[in-house]
């Protein structure tokens, strides 16, 4: 009888102690190095069924599946480039947010720098012309009066 009571007491104490001692939350995945690679890749890959979201940001089931696929490849020790190549072969360039440099995207990648060169050249011409300009003719009295009048209307 006493034994039984003691048993119950010990059991209660143990349970209480357990509930006091908080447990460490387990990471969703155990391999930290693999997870880092998965994280890095999933911010550059597109969720194929969403409007416009990366795999990392998407809660869609298909995106989660694709992340799992990436994780399996990463666990096998494949490099970033190998994984991306594999996914591009399967899903096309659409899957990657960094478009590849190829003949159809040359304009995309070079465009901004071409624009900058054109803009810089225009700026250069403009500055040279402005510097070469003759000094301003001062406003005539009539013009000054007009400016005042217009500004104070």
């Amino acid at each position: 009888m006493l034994n039984k009571l003691l048993n119950i007491f010990v059991a209660c104490f143990l349970m209480h102690a357990l509930s006091l001692n908080a447990q460490e939350a387990q990471p969703m995945q155990n391999n930290a190095a693999v997870e880092e690679q998965v994280q890095r890749l999933s911010t550059q890959l597109r969720c194929l069924v969403c409007q416009n979201q990366t795999l990392a940001d998407s809660h869609a089931a298909l995106a989660q599946d694709l992340v799992q696929e990436v994780r399996e490849m990463a666990t096998k020790g494949m490099s970033d480039q190998e994984i991306i190549d594999y996914l591009v072969a399967r899903y096309g360039d659409f899957v990657r947010y960094r478009p590849p440099l190829k003949s159809s995207t040359v304009l995309l990648w070079l465009g901004p720098f071409a624009l900058l060169v054109v803009g810089g050249f225009g700026l250069f011409l403009q500055l040279r012309r402005r510097q070469a300009m003759a000094a301003d003719a001062p406003l005539t009295e009539e013009e000054t009066r007009k400016v005042r009048e217009l500004l104070n209307k």
Partner: protein
């Protein structure tokens, strides 16, 4: 009946807009005072009619009239009233009505605050705005009528997209549209000036406050959208370079260039043609943004091709507006004077260089946004252009722009001396370099990008401090009177520029130092991130008005001291059957703690994501500072409409010379 009255009101508004877009402009060309005088009453009538139509639609939403197709598609009887009203602009047709309403608001505002303008100028401006209104009203009445009936009526509505059921929906779209559409005023001023041949400092002065106000709205609107995405999408991102975001960002970039270029035109009489071109571009990009977002071309080029009526209409409208105004520009711009001479080293040239950088940045965003659409349309395959591309393109363009931003306001007009500037700014340069190296080292992560970002931010702050000290020199008066002696427009610039610095710090720090963890949590489990302990208290079921939710509670503590509680929900909206995540966020100056509840796992555990976002709030505070700077500039006394006597004018003119 009410929807039909609204429909009829829109038809009347179209007739009024047609009159507004024709008679006053013809009157201005012929010198007919009566026709010119029609502009103001017509602008008012147009506003009343469109506002009435808008109220009719809002009434249909509030009264749950599901015999209106648009209401049935975007609302539901269980939707709370504030979202039923916001749902007026939750879909395609209604947001166009909001567009038209806001255009009529701007038109009526211009008509009310333009008494000081010459009659012909005012008539042309209001006329041009009327023509834009014609385009949008025609569009609505022909292919996109919000008042179309659904017969037989639906029993209940299909509900508003759950993503949009948020207070952000009430403020963000109207603010953004106020900005977008506000550039129509700058556009109308530019076209009116081209038509009338009057492009001078007075013209720049008149259109400047309108442009600044539109820019303030756009800045705050974009900021509100970014903040909304941050807490609503559940992954803690604040900008994604999504096409819809880009559509608002391009007019912002060009608008920023425009307000600076206008300053030069007003103060120095230079850059006139360039200013006009920017005004045309800013509004064209706003229209293009509307086209991108509203034609369905973004979801799929092919969906657009199967129902091309809307897209073709907007495309034709774009071609007429942009092509027409550029043709007018090409025809009239050569007659515009060139303005004065200035040196390679001068405030003009720094401003011009930054204008070029901003324009190139806007064009690059345009290229990246449209490129995948064109490739797809031409059958070259589908590609995605996302953050890696835009980040790679944007950083090299913004680095020199931010650097020049520090020098521009300090350099003198016309002719500045480089050695003198270097002498004056050597301390600012040294301090920002040193801080940009020491601070990241102290925080434990120095990368080239972090160093560069912080250097630019501190550079702007240091040069601004230098400039303010310089400006407030002299001891003959008290500091307060010296502060007051400086025009408010100048303080506006100081605050807006500091806003850019604050924004840059936020972006740099959050990108360089954020951390996150994905864990499985049983009730009572503890997770650790960035020195904080997150104890999972379990999940409760919660019943919302039109959703059911699981609410997870996380107790946050540090070194055993309780700090805050994060409540994060996983909602299921019952009508649309769409899951949504409500993040639990504890915002603070130093960092945000951000948690979002994932999926239930086996044996009562849940997947949870926790993010530590240092200084992320600075991003939005920086944007608010830019907006505040704009407002301060608007409150400058030279824009106040008081009647002044002639004697005070001279003194005021003299003072303004020093303000940009």
């Amino acid at each position: 009946m009410i929807p039909e009255i609204g429909h009829f009101s829109l038809i009347l508004a179209l007739l009024v807009a047609l009159t507004l877009g024709s008679l006053p402009i013809i009157g201005a060309a012929r010198g007919n005072v009566v026709w010119m005088g029609l502009a103001r009453p017509l602008a008012r009538a147009q506003f009343l009619l469109i506002a009435f139509a808008f109220l009719c639609l809002a009434y249909a939403f509030a009264a749950k009239d599901y015999s209106v197709l648009y209401v049935a598609s975007n609302s539901n009887s269980k939707l709370p009233i504030q979202f039923r009203i916001a749902a007026v602009w939750g879909g395609h047709e209604g947001s166009l009505l909001l567009w038209a309403l806001i255009l009529s608001v701007w038109t009526v505002a211009v008509s009310a605050f333009s008494k000081h303008l010459p009659d012909d100028m005012r008539a042309r401006i209001l006329g041009v705005m009327g023509l834009i209104s014609v385009g949008f009203l025609l569009f609505m009445l022909m292919v996109s009528n919000p008042f179309d009936r659904l017969i037989p009526a639906a029993l209940d509505g299909r509900d508003l997209n759950p993503l949009l059921q948020d207070p952000g929906m009430i403020f963000h779209p109207p603010m953004l549209y106020m900005g977008y559409v506000g550039f129509s005023v700058a556009f109308a001023f530019a076209i009116a000036a081209l038509l009338g041949g009057q492009l001078d400092a007075a013209w720049a002065r008149w259109s400047r406050p309108w442009t600044t106000l539109a820019w303030v709205f756009l800045t705050v609107g974009i900021m509100a959208g970014s903040n909304w995405a941050y807490y609503e999408l559940g992954w803690g991102g604040w900008w994604f370079w999504d096409a819809v975001e880009n559509a608002s960002f391009m007019p912002w970039l060009v608008g920023t260039a425009l307000i600076h270029s206008l300053a030069v035109t007003e103060k120095r009489g230079s850059f006139k043609a360039w200013t006009v071109l920017l005004a045309i571009c800013a509004f064209s990009l706003s229209l293009l943004g509307t086209f991108l977002v509203r034609s369905g071309v973004l979801t799929s080029v092919h969906a657009f091709a199967t129902d091309p009526r809307r897209g073709v209409f907007i495309l034709a409208f774009l071609v007429i507006v942009i092509g027409g105004s550029l043709a007018l520009f090409a025809w009239r711009a050569p007659t515009v004077g060139r303005g004065g001479k200035f040196d390679v080293v001068s405030r003009e040239s720094f401003l011009l260089a930054n204008n070029v950088l901003l324009a190139v940045a806007a064009m690059s965003v345009l290229l990246g946004t449209l490129y995948p659409l064109f490739l797809d349309a031409l059958n070259y395959g589908k590609i995605s252009v996302g953050p890696p591309y835009f980040d790679a393109v944007f950083a090299p363009l913004m680095t020199p722009a931010l650097f020049l931003m520090g020098i521009g306001p300090i350099a003198s007009w016309k002719n500045a001396s480089l050695p003198e500037l270097a002498m004056r700014l050597r301390w600012a340069f040294g301090v920002s370099v040193v801080t940009a190296i020491i601070l990241p080292l102290w925080l434990g992560n120095l990368t080239p990008m972090i160093g560069l970002g912080l250097f630019l931010a501190f550079w702007i702050i240091a040069t601004t401090v230098n400039m303010v000290r310089h400006r407030l020199r002299g001891a003959d008066q008290s500091l307060t009177s010296r502060v007051k002696a400086v025009p408010r427009a100048w303080w506006g610039m100081v605050i807006a520029h500091l806003g850019i610095a604050v924004f840059t710090i936020g972006v740099t720090i959050v990108k360089g130092f954020e951390s996150e963890t994905a864990i499985r949590m049983m009730p009572g489990d503890v997770a650790h991130l960035a020195g904080f302990d997150f104890t999972f208290k379990g999940v409760k079921e919660v019943q919302g008005p039109n959703y059911t939710a699981n609410r997870g509670e996380l107790l946050v503590s540090k070194n055993g001291v309780e700090r805050t509680i994060l409540n994060t929900e996983k909602r299921l909206y019952t009508v649309t059957n769409m899951p949504m995540t409500e993040a639990g966020i504890s915002p603070a100056v130093i960092h945000d703690l951000y948690a979002s509840l994932g999926e239930p796992l086996s044996d009562g555990a849940w997947s949870v994501r926790i993010y530590h976002k240092p200084m992320v709030e600075w991003i939005w505070v920086g944007c608010l500072m830019m907006g505040l700077g704009g407002l301060l500039a608007l409150s400058d006394r030279r824009y106040r409409m008081k009647k002044r006597n002639k004697n005070s004018n001279g003194a005021e003119l003299g003072q303004e010379e020093v303000a940009i």
